[in-house]
């Protein structure tokens, strides 16, 4: 656990009133940075991670010993060039990589929170992360960037703090979680709850893990991140290390074996209760409702320059949902660019080596950085 102790954290003393009504204070927010903050402090980019991401955006993740989740996009000379920009990323509250979450001990009861942890929203997440600006002495970020749930945080951030980011890049996201999105998240949560080791969320105290349930949740979610075409091309009906069907329930097909593997490695790095809390936060996200049915009002006080990116084969957060954000911004004459990237890699496209996407991201940032906005 020594590595976990080396995680950088700020302790947020200021009370934070959560959407659920509870107030928290003196809680940790774990973060990581890349690159250098310049003298003018105007080159900082705050990256928001997605459901199962963490603060270790690029390089080798010290906990998992694997590449950071956005290694394709972030690093020296990459789209988000750490030679040029100072990148900050925090683990969301409710998460399990050092930030205040359900695996923490409740100071009042001295017991692990588990499901006694307050329900967190996307709004709460960004309200916690704004404290990083004070910590680094940054008045205004050059950009806020994120895909999927990270994109939702981008939208909420600009809405909450209209003058704190020069540019904003919400990628493959939505302004309001759809019934289908909620349905898939509920499937994951029910898989965890059905694991008899979950123990109503009290598994840490009882030294057990609902790893089977969490693995199934991950497997189901993973399918939603890919496209039918992508799956067919990669796996088709190819068999896993066998010449013929075995007439049993082992993983005959490569896709089965692949999903099982994805499930098994996930449980080593992710906490089941965090999975419940973060998926809930996504489900509760409805910026349209927050502004009484008019999304434009979420951004009406902001001069932030937006660049919205979607992917052709993303059926989880399809282009149409991304375009609704573009439409809301154009309705108030905001500065907004939009491109839909051709890719058969599904929702996961933003995390993968998709050259057109990486090029657009780099060009937008580098050109905007040169402009006096």
């Amino acid at each position: 656990m020594n590595v976990k102790n080396s995680i950088k954290k700020i302790i947020i003393k200021k009370p934070l009133k959560l959407d659920c009504g509870q107030t928290i204070d003196n809680f940790p927010l774990a973060y990581e940075t890349y690159g250098e903050l310049n003298e003018n402090k105007d080159n900082a980019i705050l990256i928001f991670h997605a459901l199962t991401g963490d603060q270790f955006v690029t390089g080798i993740n010290p906990i998992t010993k694997k590449d950071g989740w956005w290694a394709y996009a972030v690093g020296p000379n990459k789209s988000i060039d750490t030679n040029k920009y100072f990148v900050i990323c925090a683990n969301v509250i409710g998460g399990c990589m050092g930030s205040f979450g359900p695996s923490h001990e409740n100071p009042q009861t001295k017991k692990i929170y588990g499901t006694d942890f307050p329900v967190i929203t996307i709004n709460d997440m960004v309200n916690a992360q704004i404290n990083l600006l004070d910590f680094f002495g940054i008045d205004k970020l050059f950009s806020v960037v994120g895909g999927s749930m990270g994109g939702m945080q981008v939208l909420q951030f600009v809405s909450n703090f209209p003058n704190k980011a020069k540019t904003a890049i919400p990628i493959a996201c939505t302004s309001s979680h759809s019934a289908q999105n909620i349905a898939f998240n509920e499937l994951g949560r029910q898989a965890i709850a059905a694991d008899h080791n979950w123990l109503d969320g009290d598994y840490i105290t009882k030294s057990t893990l609902p790893d089977k349930g969490l693995a199934v949740a991950r497997m189901a979610a993973h399918i939603t991140y890919l496209s039918k075409k992508g799956l067919q091309e990669k796996f088709g009906r190819k068999l896993q290390e066998r010449d013929d069907l075995k007439f049993g329930f082992d993983a005959d097909f490569q896709i089965e074996s692949y999903l099982r593997y994805q499930g098994s490695v996930f449980v080593d790095r992710f906490d089941a209760n965090s999975y419940l809390y973060i998926t809930r936060a996504m489900d509760y996200f409805d910026l349209v409702k927050q502004f009484n049915g008019n999304l434009s009002n979420a951004f009406k006080n902001s001069k932030t320059k937006f660049f919205i990116i979607s992917f052709t084969s993303d059926w989880l957060y399809p282009t149409q949902e991304n375009k609704e954000i573009v439409i809301a911004l154009n309705a108030i004459g905001a500065n907004v660019g939009f491109v839909e990237i051709e890719s058969d890699k599904g929702h996961d496209s933003f995390l993968l080596d998709v050259p057109d996407f990486l090029k657009a991201l780099k060009n937008f940032l580098d050109k905007s950085f040169m402009e006096k906005l």
């Binding site: 154009n330 500065n335 660019g337 090029k359």
Partner: protein, 198 residues
């Protein structure tokens, strides 16, 4: 710099808000941004062209003018520019109305199908005209609603919009079009450029 762009730029006042519909690779947008200090946006259907615009630092949305103009509020731009694309729309009437709703003024340019070379082409060969500015065959052309300068003038009366300025371009020479010279301009002009308003 294309003469057409130079003319468009001359029409547009400094520091105005401009939307370039079908902005292509952003050449005109860049020119207007630098020379007229315009607050300029583009809309473009081709992903490749959108990428080029982004690389130039231009604010462009990928979209189809026929469906995507409706997201812009009334009079949200001082000028809306539509360069040589009116003929490519399924419903040019709706597009023109949308341009005039979104923009206080619109600048529309059209490749003139009434040009003598086009007429001669059809007359002599008896096949759909192919010229340097209209290089496609009838079956693969994006230009499904070609019109002449005269047609456009007539169109303005039918739809009910005002033409404030009408120019004909011929070999980089610009001339004004008026009622008395319309016959000749429609025969010799390669391109018609119109500043219009509701």
């Amino acid at each position: 710099m294309k003469t057409e762009y130079k003319i468009i730029s001359d029409i547009i006042e400094k520091n105005s808000r401009v939307l370039d519909v079908g902005c292509d690779d952003g050449t005109l947008m860049e020119f207007l941004k630098v020379n007229k200090n315009t607050n300029i946006r583009g809309i473009e259907i081709s992903k490749e062209k959108v990428q080029i615009c982004i690389a130039k630092g231009l604010t462009v949305i990928e979209g189809n003018a026929e469906f995507d103009l409706k997201q812009f509020p009334n009079n949200s731009f001082d000028y809306v520019v539509l360069g040589q694309t009116l003929q490519a729309f399924v419903n040019p009437e709706i597009v023109i109305k949308e341009l005039l709703r979104v923009g206080k003024k619109a600048i529309v340019t059209i490749p003139n199908f009434g040009h003598w070379k086009v007429r001669l082409n059809l007359l002599m060969r008896g096949t759909m005209p192919i010229t340097s500015s209209l290089p496609h065959d009838w079956y693969n052309t994006p230009n499904i609603h070609m019109c002449t300068i005269k047609d456009f003038v007539k169109f303005s009366k039918i739809i009910g919009f005002k033409i404030f300025k009408s120019l004909a371009l011929k070999n980089k020479n610009i001339s004004n079009i008026n009622n008395s010279n319309l016959f000749f301009k429609n025969l010799f002009g390669e391109l018609g450029i119109f500043l219009i308003e509701k």
